[in-house]
Symmetry: C2
Subunit: 194 residues, 2 copies
Amino acid sequence: MRRVHPIETESYRILRGLVDLSRLGPLSRAVAERIIHASADLEYAESLALDETALEAGLEALRRGSPVITDVRMVAAGITGRQALCFVSDRRARELSERLGITRSAAGFRVAAEEVGAGAVWVVGNAPTALFELLKLEVSPALVIGLPVGFVGAAESKDALIESRLPCLANRGPKGGSAVAAAALNALIYYGEE
Amino acid sequence: MRRVHPIETESYRILRGLVDLSRLGPLSRAVAERIIHASADLEYAESLALDETALEAGLEALRRGSPVITDVRMVAAGITGRQALCFVSDRRARELSERLGITRSAAGFRVAAEEVGAGAVWVVGNAPTALFELLKLEVSPALVIGLPVGFVGAAESKDALIESRLPCLANRGPKGGSAVAAAALNALIYYGEE
């Protein structure tokens, strides 16, 4: 069982007074609440694209020990109680990035696709280019947490993810980020363990 | 020189169209722009507490190689091109945390205070408790980047930092976070290197 710090309990009490997420399914609510807890940004209550079935698939994948792959190291560092794989600094990703003129994060996902099989959980907290790359790779993910951030391509990459029909969690608009993406995954890791 | 990716250039072009920060001093502007670039959250243009003199002190400290200490590993992971110290997982921090009933991040700062001398740069991206602890320690920081996030104590801890008269960067209200704190420090690291 995870020991929940009193500060976290109080934070959840406050946020439930600020925004009502009781309409959501249990996993959608857990994810939305942890994202708002981690960002203090109530906008996510409206902008998240939540799919209970997709989150269930992600939870099952985590419980059977499927690998978790992140686009950047910062997302991996924010995931608690579980090792996540990130190939952005891998030598092969560097070479691929330079040879093909793609970003390091996108190249890291190409390398990851060769390393892990179907049913992994993919987490994008930074790079729209990595998310666009993932949509081209045929990796049969259990779940894609697509939360890149920024003014260039982030909203478009998340829209493309939502339209891809892959099992996913995403956010509409430019917001997202490493902390938010890690929070979404942590919500699944913690689910039922409190 | 840092090689700026065309996506970053485009992102800065877009954000300068969305918000005018030209009134700010050069370091304040660099920090505010990188925070907005990293969060896609325009609110920071209004809520950041920016002090050009404090940021200059931080920049000088970085340039003379002063240590950078972070409250959580995720902030350290987001800092690019520079090693940051984080004692949250240090054995001594664990022991101190259990013995005194303080958070692990607060205990990590106590350990850090014994390890580093005056003139360090302290970065808080997560834990209000770590920032409150820092305000009690007499560490003579060159700069405190105080950007903890959340509904419990984060706003209060940042207000206390602003009132402390320590050289600081902070944000008014509950928002902040690891990605934003790392972005603030990265803005100083990159300053003048493009």
